[in-house]
Amino acid sequence: MSQVLLVGTYRPGRTPLHRLPVGPKVLLLAVFSLVVVLLRSLPASGVCLALVVAAALVGRVPLGAVLRAVRGLAVLLVVVSAVQWWVNGLARAAETTLDLVALAVAALVLTTTTPVNALLDAIVRWLGPLRRLGVDPERVALAFSLAIAALPATLALALETRDAARARGLGRHPRAYLTPFVVRVVARAHETGDALHARGLGD
């Protein structure tokens, strides 16, 4: 299970991507994402995917993590591709699939090569000027980092809930899985809130 949970977790290293400061890295991700979305051609999507796979190789992102990230998108990919195929044809469906995979891997490369606290510090720095407008940069940064950190924790809850449903012979009943999963996610959100409150974060 721990292997599944390592999706989106920082892995220390000394690659060029690890050494690249957070600002340029986030800017690159933003520009790359825009290019992926705006360029409407199948070859261009293939090139974008090749570029991001190359970045993953440079950042020494484990192949297993890349495959798990793509697998995590499987349902979304199937649904979106099917709709695109039906509405716009096979070429557009393939292009959309490649684009989504490229964006997922790009996000994975960022989180795998960047410590969350470095992201947090950068967001606090960038939002500093907004203090005058009443924005609390620490609080905004904490929200961002929690969103990233919540991914593996939510995956763990999903797997535990699925196993619990299976153990009771209810593996084929979506309600027996989804209802307790949602309840547990909300409960975990409350617990996390309590934990942050207890540590004085957000005071």
């Binding site: 721990s2 949970l5 606290n117 510090d121 924790a153 934990a195 409150h197 207890a198």
Partner: protein, 231 residues
């Protein structure tokens, strides 16, 4: 540190009407190690949460070092650390060192010394080799040690621990207990482990939402056992 509950009570509204979770309670805690024992749902965790401001009293007051928890929550939380039963709920960052760094964000602004201090804290708790390990890959005992390290990193004067050994095996339970009882901080320990309760200087027994006994550990534990098992 002087912790005072002045007729503090907690009442929650339910469909059937108001439910008293903790009846008006007046206590003054000054001992170095205070144990709190009681059955599940008796109100002991609520009592513990009042001390850190996680729960606000419906009536009455809670004072820590003279500060009203309801009015000066931030200042109180700087003095009172809190450790939960389930460490997984308390660990919110992806890796061990990042989680400790999160605790240090308010006190150490500069990232480099903050990282260095976080690594020191991990080393102090035997987790130096796990700095970059995912918090999800740790064992239950390691998670609880990391959760404690995250709390102790901010050097609180009081540590409130709500059943910190309940989910641990024997070896890890003893390891965490030994750490708790070696701390210089004042300790308020909610526990089902009666041996641990007996190691405290004073034990408060909470039953059915009220303090049923308060005093020396052996007498308090005997009172609790008799109340639960009957004469």
């Amino acid at each position: 540190m002087r912790i005072e509950l002045d007729a503090a009570s907690v009442v929650v509204p339910t469909a059937e009407g108001d439910r008293v979770v903790l009846a008006p309670t007046t206590l003054t805690l000054t001992e170095q190690r205070v144990g709190v024992v009681g059955a599940n749902g008796s109100g002991k965790s609520t009592l513990a949460r009042l001390l850190n401001g996680l729960v606000a009293p419906t009536a009455g007051r809670v004072l820590v070092d003279g500060l009203d928890v309801a009015r000066a929550g931030s200042a109180v939380r700087r003095r009172v650390g809190f450790c939960f039963t389930d460490p997984s709920a308390q660990l919110v960052m992806p890796t061990c060192v990042e989680d400790v760094e999160l605790s240090l964000r308010r006190s150490v602004r500069d990232p480099r010394p903050r990282r260095a201090r976080a690594l020191e804290v991990l080393a102090e708790h035997g987790l130096a080799d796990h700095a970059d390990t995912s918090v999800h890959a740790l064992s239950g005992g390691q998670k609880q040690l990391l959760a404690l390290a995250g709390v102790l990193a901010t050097s609180p004067e009081v540590l409130v621990a709500d059943e910190p050994t309940t989910l641990l095996d024997l070896a890890n339970s003893r390891r965490v207990a030994d750490l708790l009882f070696s701390l210089p901080q004042q300790l308020v320990l909610v526990t089902h482990d009666l041996d641990l309760a007996r190691r405290c200087d004073r034990v408060v027994v909470v039953l059915d939402g009220a303090v049923a006994h308060d005093g020396a550990p052996d007498a308090a534990v005997d009172h609790y056992v008799a109340a639960v098992t009957g004469p």
